[in-house]
């Protein structure tokens, strides 16, 4: 009964002072909205980074000629890889799950008057295993198609949408760089990644691309998928050793190839975004704390301003605990209300900002619950002191208060 009564009283008091109540909660509203928006966007950014990385394949080593990104400017261009390198990696290294060669080219795809400029990847079926790509419609290459370098292709969704619109592309013939080929499959959508549109691609048997487009039998890149049971860095070391031997690099000389571990990059990038999220979240949490102090401040002022009112209540027969509960409930209602409004604002802001930041919007129930619980706790903590002060007032003095 006491709680029911005091809730009614608290709601009435809040209703009587709408503007003041709103200003009181503003700190909490902004605090909660800031925390939840920051953490939501931060989580989205982390997820985006993780997804971009995983689009490279999990536990995948990328083997390329040259000394790595942006280095090895001078001198002759290091040689590409040969098919023998591929078989050597597959046969001589332990812990390799799959090996896929890649030859990259680009050109215009044409279907019934629609043009689309895209990337062409020459590879083998192993590529699907390495990259964990799946075919949504149709099928992968047949071994005999790979062997013969048949004019068949699997297209990404961007290519499909631009060339075929709503028509089913599987079985249709399109032209790529002036050569006719049959579409045998469509890849599952991968979305935008940090490395461009992952769906803007045409995948063909490597022998076809080598014969018709690049004109030699070189392989520009080798993807090595490491078995989950093996340590990527150990496999990486033995891969480097093997390649040094195969490319006849003298001891002490620099590598003329580089091995790029996607997991390393993944760890670094997700680590960075997590730390950034934590920092921004902490700053926002401080603003939430400031909002709580704002509530305490207004409640204290309110106790002074409403001294006479408290006196009336006490004279009428309110016991101290009822006055205490009323003020406490007022503070809690205000801060919870602020918390709720803050959550709604955060939801709206996150949905609006996420696309601008090119990160996915991920609704995290936990973050929302914690922020709300925190705002309620702020109501209790910062409301208690003023409430106790109100309840301790002497009715005679309170009534005399001007």
């Amino acid at each position: 009964m006491i709680l029911g009564t005091t809730v009614v009283l608290a709601l009435r008091a809040i209703n009587r002072h709408k503007l003041r109540s709103f200003l009181t909660t503003l700190g909490i509203i902004i605090g909660v909205a800031a925390v939840v928006t920051m953490v939501t966007l931060g989580n989205g950014a982390t997820a985006a980074v993780r997804e971009q990385i995983s689009s490279l394949g999990a536990n995948v080593l990328q083997l390329r000629p040259g000394q790595g990104f942006g280095r090895g400017g001078g001198g002759p261009r290091p040689p590409d890889f040969k098919e023998q390198d591929l078989t050597a990696i597959a046969n001589q290294l332990t812990g390799v799950r799959a090996v896929a060669p890649i030859v990259q080219s680009s050109g215009t795809a044409i279907y019934e008057g629609n043009n689309w400029s895209t990337s062409v990847y020459g590879t083998t079926s192993a590529y699907s295993e390495v990259q964990q790509w799946k075919v949504a419609d149709g099928r992968l290459f047949m071994p005999e198609e790979e062997e013969a370098g048949s004019p068949v292709c699997i297209i990404g969704n961007t290519v499909r949408n631009n060339l075929f619109q709503r028509a089913d592309p599987v079985g249709k013939r399109m032209r790529i760089k002036g050569v006719s080929c049959q579409v045998i499959g469509v890849l599952t959508t991968r979305g935008q990644g940090g490395f461009g549109d992952q769906d803007d691609v045409v995948v063909m048997p490597i022998k076809f691309v080598q014969r018709r487009f690049t004109g030699d039998r070189d392989i520009s890149q080798i993807m090595v998928a490491v078995d989950d049971a093996y340590d990527t860095s150990v496999v990486q070391a033995s891969l480097e050793q093997l390649m040094r031997e195969r490319r006849k690099i003298k001891p002490g000389a620099d590598d003329n190839f580089n091995v790029f571990d996607t997991k390393q990059i993944s760890d670094t990038l997700t680590g960075t975004t997590t730390i950034l999220t934590q920092i921004v979240g902490t700053v926002a949490a401080i603003s939430l704390l400031v909002g709580g102090i704002g509530i305490m401040n207004i409640m204290l002022v309110s106790v002074t301003e409403r001294t006479r009112e408290i006196g009336i209540r006490l004279a009428i027969g309110a016991v101290a605990s009822e006055v205490l509960t009323q003020f406490l409930v007022e503070a809690i209602v205000l801060s919870c209300l602020g918390g709720l409004i803050g959550l709604v604002l955060a939801l709206v802001a996150s949905i609006a900002i996420a696309p601008l930041m090119q990160v996915p919007f991920i609704f995290n129930i936990q973050v929302n619950l914690i922020a709300f619980a925190f705002s309620a706790a702020i109501g209790v903590i910062f409301g208690y002191f003023p409430a106790r002060r109100a309840a301790a007032l002497n009715p005679i003095d309170a009534l005399r208060h001007e």
Partner: protein, 233 residues
Amino acid sequence: MSADPIISLRGVTKNYGSGATAFQALKGVDLDIAQGDFVAVMGPSGSGKSTTMNILGCLDVPTTGAFLFKGRHVETLDRDQRALLRRRYLGFVFQGFNLLARTTALENVELPLLYRGEDRRTRQIAGMAALDKVGLKDWWDHTPAELSGGQQQRVAIARAIVTQPDVLLADEPTGNLDSERSVEIMQLLTDLNRNSGITVLMVTHEPDMAAFARTIVHFKDGLVERVDQGAMA
């Protein structure tokens, strides 16, 4: 009138402060108030009448001496017990009306019932009945700012009687009103005293107002100087 007084003060003293600044407001007050009486308390300021009223209103406790309310020793009760006593048996009317601002007349009148834990419907019925008694039934949804001083005091009286108290304590209820409104308020209090059997205790320093009372208690220097029978007796 019952034989036992509803209120008895025996040798009540009240000290404020300590040491050099100590001040004795009451120096041993003995007073009996019969059930159903209409008592006016008079006296110059500093005579102890307000202190006495605070004690009678269970807002304060005597330093020494006994205060019996309906045979119960109030001086032994703690703060919350006294609050419950006020809630159950007492109604207050103040000089400054002391209504809650921005709150309708009905909500103000309902307030004591809210603390008693009455449900919404009971509160509304009793609240409207009390407003009807003071002649403000049609003003139930007006806030204090929209009411005249006399109307505000009548709302305050409605709030004091809504719980059907045994005793109504009025601290200079006409102090802020002109003489015409004052007479209206006094007639209302007299009616309540006669028709509802409420014991009325009123502090005033206006002899005209005290004349409405049946008993007039004069205070001087912390003691009861004399007790008169009023004009209405």
